[in-house]
C-alpha cells in the first residue's frame, strides 16, 4: 500500500511538474511575432539578399506602401479632391517612422521659366495653387515621371508613395501600416475608392491572415482531433487522456519558439497544427492497446492490476509508436537540406515536436491513466465493444483482398503505367512564388493589387545596383547613355516593364531645362574665371584690387546687372520667324523628319522633330549629352563635368538613384513591372544580364536585386529544395525500413506506396494547376514521413501474420486489424488537414487538401501494393533472417541489462 501511495504521489508530481512547465511555457507566447514576408525565406548569403541589403542601406526601403485614391468617372485634378489628397499626404507625413511621402500634391516639378529654372511642387507654383489645365500640361510634359507613378493616365487615380525606415521591426511595420490604414479610413467617402497596396502591405496582410488562421484553424483541428478521439473511444477520458499530451506538446513547442525569439512564418505557422494531427496517433495507440487489454477482463480490476496492464500495453506498443515517430521525424528532418532558413526551422520544430510529443505521451499518459483508474475498474456494457470506429470486416476489405490476390498482374501493369504517367508530369510541375496568388481573387488585397498593376506602373520591382571603382565614376556621360539605351532596350522586349527610374531620367530632364535657351554648337566668347577669394592675386578677395574703398557700407551695387541680357536669349531663337513660305515649311518638315529617330514616325515624333529644330522648350536637349561640341565643350571629360554640375541642382533629391550628390560610386536603376510571373521575371532578368554583361565598363560591377527578384530566385531554391528533401526523406525511410527488417529489398518494397503517393501528388498538382510554393512544397516530404508509418505497419503485420498462418488467410486478417487502424488514422489525419481549406491564404488550404489526398493514396497504396508484391515473393525467405529486428534485439538486450 505504501508503494502504491508512493506511486500515486510520484504520478501527481510528474503531472504537476509537466503542467507547471506548460504554464511557464505559455507565458512568453504573447511575445511571439509573425513575419509574413517572403524575404524571410531568402538565404542570407544569396546574392539578391546581399544586393537588397546594400540597396536598403544606400537608397532606403525598397518596398514602399502605396496608397491609391480614385474618384469615379471624373478627374482627381479638382480643387476639392486635391484638398483631400493634401490632407492625406500631410497626415501620413506626420506618422512616426515615415521617412518620405511622395504624392501628386508634393512631388517636384522642374521647368524652365522666364528667369531661369524652377523646382516647384507639381500642383502649385510660387503664386500658390494653379489651374487644372496647367497641371495637366505639366503632367504630360514629364509623363514618364508622373503618369503611373503618382497619377493614372486618365487622371482619376492618385497614388501616394510612403517610404519608411528600412531597419524597422515587423512590429513597427505592422503599427505603421495600421496607422496609415486608419488615417486613410478617415477619408472614406462613397465617391472615393481608396486602397492600400505594395509588397509591405501584402506581407502585413499575410501576417494578419496567418494570425487569424492560427486562431481559427488550430482550435478547429483540435476539435476534429477530439471528435476522432471520441469516435475511437466513446468515453470522456478517451478524449481527454490522449488530448492533454498533445496540448502540452503544442504549448511547449510554441512557448519554445517565443523563448528563442523565433518568428511565426508562413510555414512555421503549420507546426502546432501538424503536431496536433500527427501526434494524436501516438496517444491513440497507447490508449487503444490499454483499453484492449483492460476490456478483456470480465470482473473488477484493481489499481495494482491496472498498472500492470498499462505497463504491458506500453511495452507492446512502444516500439511501433517510437518507429512511427522516427519515420515521421525523418520526413521533417529532410527539410534540413533546404537552403531556405524558414524551411529548415520548420523541419527542426516539427522534428522536435514529434520527439517532444513522444516524450510527453510516454511521460504523462501512464500517470494520468493510473490516476484515472486509481480506484480500479468495473466492467460495464459500454466497454464491451471497442470496434466502434472504422470499417467492419466487410465488402471493402473483401474487395481489396480480391484485387491483391487475383489482379496483382494487372495491378502491377497499372502501377507501372501510373509511375510512367506521373514521371512524365514532372516537367509540367509549376512553381511560382507570387505572393498575391496566395490571396483569394475576391479579397480586397488581390483586387487592390490588380488595380495597381492595370492602372498604375505596378507593384513588381527589379533593381540593378552598379558600383564603380572610383568615387564620381558614375557621373560618366558614356555610362549614363548606356543606362538610357538599356531603358529603351528592356522596354521594347518586355511589355510588362512599365517604368524605369534612373539617374539618366534626371540628367535628361535637367539638361532640357538648363538648355531651353541654348543654341546647339554655339560658342560662348568669354573665358570663365577661376575664383579663389583667398588667393593673393587675381580676384583674390584680400588682394589690393578688391580692398578698394568700396566698403559694404558704400554705395549699393545692382544685383541684377546683366540678368536681363541673358533672358533676351529667348528672343534670339532662330525659329521665331513668322509667315513661312511653302518651300520653307517643306524644308522644316524634312528637317523635322530627319530629327526623328524612327523610319516610320508618328505625329508625336514629328512634333518632337519640329521642336528640336527650334529647340522649343529645350527639345533639342532632351538627351543625355553626347556631343561635347553641341554644348560648347571639347572633351568627354568636359561633358562629365557638366553632368556633375547638373547633379548639384538635384542635390538632396537624388537619394533613390545615386549614393552621393557629387561623387557617386553607386547608382540604382529601378524597373517597375505590372506582372511578376516567373516567365516575365525570367525574361527581364535575362535581358538585364545580356545587356549589362556586354556593356558594363571594365572594372565596374553590377548586381540585381529588388523584391520581385526574390520571388524568382526563391522559386529556383524551392524546386531544388524539393528534390533534395524528397530524395533525402526517401533515402532515410529506406534506411530505417532496411534497418528494421535487415533487408534492403524490404526497404525498397516499403518505398513503393510512398513513391506511389508522391506520383499521385505530382499528378494532382499538374492536373489542378496548383503551383509549388513555400507552403505547398512541404507536402511531399511530410507525406513521405507520415506515409512511411503505413508501410512499416503493413510490413510488420504481414511478417507477424506470415509466421503464424497460411498465406491465404493473411490478407483478410491484415486488413481487419492493421488495415482498419491505418485507414482510421489516414481518415483522421486527412480530415484534420482538410480543416486547412478554411484558411484565408490559398497555399495553406492547398497544402491541407493535398496532404489529405496523399494520406488517402498512401494508406490505400500501403494496403494494396505491399501485399500485392509480398504475395508474389517467398515471404518466409524474405523475412527469414529478421524475425527479430536489430531494434528488437537491442531493446531486448537493453531490458536484460536493466534487470541484471
Amino acid at each position: 500500500m505504501k508503494i502504491y501511495k508512493f506511486g500515486k504521489i510520484r504520478d501527481i508530481l510528474i503531472i504537476a511538474a509537466v503542467f507547471a512547465v506548460t504554464l511557464l511555457s505559455i507565458i512568453p507566447i504573447g511575445n511571439l511575432t509573425i513575419d509574413g514576408s517572403i524575404k524571410a525565406f531568402m538565404p542570407d548569403g544569396e546574392e539578391v539578399a546581399v544586393t537588397n541589403n546594400l540597396i536598403e542601406d544606400e537608397f532606403g526601403s525598397i518596398d514602399p506602401i502605396l496608397v491609391s485614391m480614385e474618384i469615379n468617372d471624373e478627374t482627381i485634378l479638382q480643387e476639392e479632391y486635391l484638398t483631400v489628397l493634401k490632407g492625406v499626404t500631410s497626415g501620413i507625413e506626420s506618422i512616426p517612422l515615415v521617412l518620405e511621402v511622395i504624392s501628386p500634391v508634393n512631388v517636384d516639378y522642374i521647368e524652365s521659366s522666364d528667369s531661369g529654372i524652377s523646382i516647384v511642387p507639381l500642383m502649385s507654383d510660387s503664386e500658390g495653387d494653379m489651374d487644372i489645365s496647367k497641371i495637366k500640361d505639366r503632367i504630360l510634359s514629364w509623363k514618364d515621371t508622373y503618369v503611373g507613378t503618382v497619377i493614372s493616365r486618365d487622371t482619376r487615380l492618385a497614388q501616394i508613395i510612403v517610404r519608411y525606415a528600412d531597419n524597422i521591426s515587423p512590429d513597427e511595420r505592422n503599427k505603421l501600416f495600421n496607422q496609415v490604414k486608419s488615417l486613410v479610413n478617415e477619408y472614406e467617402d462613397p465617391r472615393w475608392n481608396i486602397s492600400i497596396a505594395g509588397r509591405a502591405v501584402m506581407e502585413e496582410e499575410v501576417s494578419n491572415y496567418v494570425a487569424k488562421d492560427l486562431l481559427l484553424i488550430l482550435p478547429l483541428v483540435a476539435l476534429i482531433v477530439l471528435i476522432v478521439f471520441f469516435i475511437s473511444f466513446r468515453r470522456w477520458e478517451g478524449v481527454l487522456l490522449p488530448f492533454i499530451p498533445l496540448a502540452v506538446t503544442v504549448a511547449w513547442i510554441v512557448g519554445g519558439m517565443a523563448i528563442f525569439n523565433m518568428q511565426i512564418t508562413l510555414v512555421s505557422f503549420l507546426v502546432p497544427i501538424l503536431i496536433l494531427v500527427v501526434g494524436s496517433a501516438y496517444s491513440i495507440h497507447i490508449l487503444s492497446h490499454f483499453y484492449e487489454e483492460l476490456f478483456q477482463n470480465k470482473e473488477f480490476v484493481d489499481s495494482v492490476e491496472i498498472s500492470k496492464i498499462l505497463k504491458r500495453s506500453i511495452r507492446e506498443v512502444r516500439l511501433s509508436v517510437i518507429l512511427a515517430g522516427i519515420t515521421t521525424a525523418v520526413g521533417f528532418l529532410s527539410f534540413f537540406t533546404s537552403p531556405l532558413g524558414p524551411l529548415r526551422v520548420f523541419g527542426l520544430l516539427c522534428t522536435i515536436g514529434v520527439f517532444v510529443s513522444l516524450l510527453v505521451v510516454f511521460l504523462i499518459m501512464p500517470p494520468m491513466i493510473r490516476l484515472r483508474f486509481s480506484r480500479g475498474w468495473t466492467p460495464s456494457k459500454s466497454n464491451v465493444n471497442m470496434e466502434v470506429a472504422g470499417f467492419k470486416k466487410g465488402d471493402f476489405f473483401r474487395f481489396l483482398k480480391w484485387v491483391v490476390e487475383t489482379k496483382s498482374g494487372v495491378l502491377l501493369i497499372l502501377v507501372i503505367i501510373f509511375f510512367l504517367f506521373a514521371g512524365f508530369q514532372i516537367p509540367h510541375l509549376q512553381t511560382g512564388l507570387n505572393m498575391i496568388e496566395a490571396f483569394k481573387p475576391s479579397s480586397k488585397v488581390f483586387q487592390d493589387y490588380e488595380m495597381m498593376n492595370t492602372r498604375m506602373n505596378g507593384t513588381g520591382v527589379v533593381n540593378i545596383l552598379f558600383e564603380s571603382p572610383e568615387r564620381g565614376d558614375i557621373v560618366d556621360s558614356g555610362f549614363i547613355r548606356k543606362i538610357d539605351k538599356f531603358s529603351s532596350y528592356i522596354k521594347e522586349d518586355n511589355p510588362s516593364v512599365t517604368s524605369i527610374q534612373s539617374i539618366s531620367q534626371f540628367i535628361k530632364q535637367i539638361n532640357k531645362v538648363m538648355n531651353s535657351d541654348s543654341i546647339p554648337y554655339a560658342k560662348d566668347s568669354y573665358e570663365d574665371v577661376s575664383i579663389d577669394f583667398f588667393s593673393d592675386s587675381g580676384n583674390g578677395f584680400f588682394s589690393e584690387e578688391s580692398e578698394d574703398d568700396q566698403t559694404i557700407f558704400s554705395q549699393e551695387e545692382a544685383v541684377f546687372t546683366d540678368e536681363n541680357s541673358l533672358l533676351d536669349n529667348d528672343g534670339e531663337n532662330y525659329g521665331s520667324e513668322q509667315g513661312l513660305s511653302y518651300t520653307q515649311i517643306a524644308g522644316l518638315l524634312k528637317e523635322a523628319l530627319l530629327n526623328t529617330e524612327t523610319s516610320d514616325p508618328s505625329a508625336e515624333d514629328l512634333i518632337r522633330g519640329f521642336n528640336i529644330i527650334n529647340n522649343y522648350a529645350g527639345a533639342a536637349y532632351d538627351e543625355i549629352p553626347v556631343d561635347p561640341a553641341k554644348y560648347g565643350l571639347e572633351t568627354e571629360e568636359d561633358l562629365n563635368a557638366l553632368l556633375s554640375q547638373y547633379l548639384i541642382l538635384g542635390a538632396g533629391n537624388l537619394e533613390m538613384v545615386i549614393n552621393d550628390d557629387l561623387e557617386p560610386d553607386r547608382t540604382l536603376i529601378t524597373i517597375q513591372l505590372n506582372d511578376e510571373s516567373k516567365e516575365t521575371l525570367g525574361n527581364v532578368l535575362t535581358h538585364i544580364h545580356t545587356f549589362w554583361d556586354r556593356e558594363i565598363p571594365s572594372g565596374w560591377s553590377y548586381s540585381v536585386g529588388g523584391s520581385s527578384t526574390i520571388y524568382y530566385i526563391l522559386d529556383k531554391h524551392i524546386l531544388h529544395s524539393q528534390y533534395f528533401s524528397i530524395l533525402g526523406a526517401l533515402f532515410l525511410v529506406w534506411l530505417i525500413i532496411t534497418f528494421i527488417f535487415r533487408s534492403a529489398r524490404v526497404g525498397l518494397i516499403g518505398l513503393i506506396p510512398i513513391i506511389f503517393s508522391l506520383g499521385g501528388l505530382i499528378i494532382a498538382f499538374v492536373v489542378t494547376g496548383v503551383k509549388l510554393d513555400t507552403v505547398t512544397s512541404l507536402t511531399a516530404a511530410i507525406t513521405i514521413g507520415v506515409g512511411a508509418d503505413y508501410a512499416i505497419h503493413v510490413l510488420v503485420a504481414y511478417r507477424r501474420l506470415a509466421s503464424k498462418m497460411d498465406k491465404k488467410d493473411i490478407l483478410f486478417q491484415l486488413y481487419s486489424t492493421t488495415g482498419r487502424a491505418i485507414l482510421l488514422n489516414a481518415l483522421s489525419v486527412g480530415i484534420g488537414f482538410l480543416a486547412l481549406v478554411l484558411a484565408h491564404l490559398i497555399p495553406i488550404g492547398v497544402f491541407g487538401s493535398m496532404f489529405a489526398l496523399s494520406m488517402g493514396i498512401s494508406s490505400l497504396a500501403s494496403l494494396i501494393l505491399i501485399p500485392a508484391v509480398l504475395t508474389r515473393l517467398d515471404v518466409e525467405k524474405l523475412f527469414k533472417q529478421n524475425k527479430k529486428s536489430i531494434l528488437d534485439k537491442y531493446l531486448l538486450e537493453f531490458r536484460k541489462r536493466l534487470k541484471g
Binding site: I95, P96, L97, V98, L99, D108, S113, S115, G116, I117, S118, I119, V120, P121, S126, G472, M514, N515, S518, Y526, D528, V529, I531, D532, F533, N539, F541, F542, S546, E547, D548, Q550, T551, I552, Q555, E556, E557, A558, V559, T561, D562, L566, Y631, G632, D638, N640, A641, L642, S644, Q645, I648, L649, A651, G652, N653, E655, D660, D661, L662, E663
Partner: protein
Amino acid sequence: MKKMILFSIFLIGMTELWAITGQEIMDRSIDIQETKSAAMDIQMDLVDDNGDVSNRRLQILSMQDNAGQNRTIAVFMSPANIKNTRFLIIENSDRSDDQWIYLPSLKKMKRIAASDNDSSFMGSDFTYGDMSDMKADKDSHTLLREEKYNGRDCYVVESLPLDPESASRSKLISWIDKERFVPIKVEFYDKRFKKLDRTAVSENITLVNEIWTPLSVTMTTHSTGHKTILLIKQVKYNIPMNPGYFSTNFLKTGRVSQ
C-alpha cells in the same frame, strides 16, 4: 549657403555672460552672429561608416546689406568636376530668397526657384533645414543644467521650436561654453522619431577677429554612422567687402564690374 554660414556663425562664441535663463543664453549666443560680413574657406570631409573620406571645398562670402538682409556667394573649389560652380543667394524680408546658380561648363547662369526641403546639403550630414532655424526667436529655450563637457563648464540648453510643424527637428540640446559662449556640442532630435538623430561637436575653438570660432565641427548621423567634418581653413569677419561680389554679373563672369 547662407544657412551654412548662419550655422557656422552660430557656433561662434563670445565672452562672459551672466545670464542664467536659457532664453538669455541663446539670445546672447545668437547676437554674436550679427557680423557685418564674413569670408570663409571651408573644407568638408565626408566620412562614411567604413571610414572612407571624400572632400569638398568651398569658399563663402556673406555680407549684410543696408536693409539688414544677407547676401551670400558661394564657390565650389573641389571636386574638380564642379570647380567654379557658383551660387548667389539674396535674402528677402517679404518673400522667399532669390537664388542663382552658375554652371561653368555651360557658362550659364540660371535663377533657381527651389522648394524648401530638409534634405542633405551636398551629401553631407548637414541639412538646409536644420541650419535655417538657427535664430533665437524661432525656438523657446530652457536651461536644463550646467555641466562640464570636454573639460569646459557648459550651460545645457534645450530649444523647442515655437512652430513644430514648420521646424525640421523636434528639439535641440546645446552645450554652451560658459566662458567663451561657444556652443561646443549640439544634439539634433528627429522631428518624426523624436530620437537623437545627429550630434555636432565643435573643436579647435580659436579667437578670430575677436570672435571665438570653432575651426572644426563634426556632425555625426547616428543611424548611419556617417559623419561630416567641417574644417574652416580660413575665416575673416567684419571686413570691408565690395557689394559687386553679390551680383549676377560677378556670378556669371567672375569679375566685379568697375
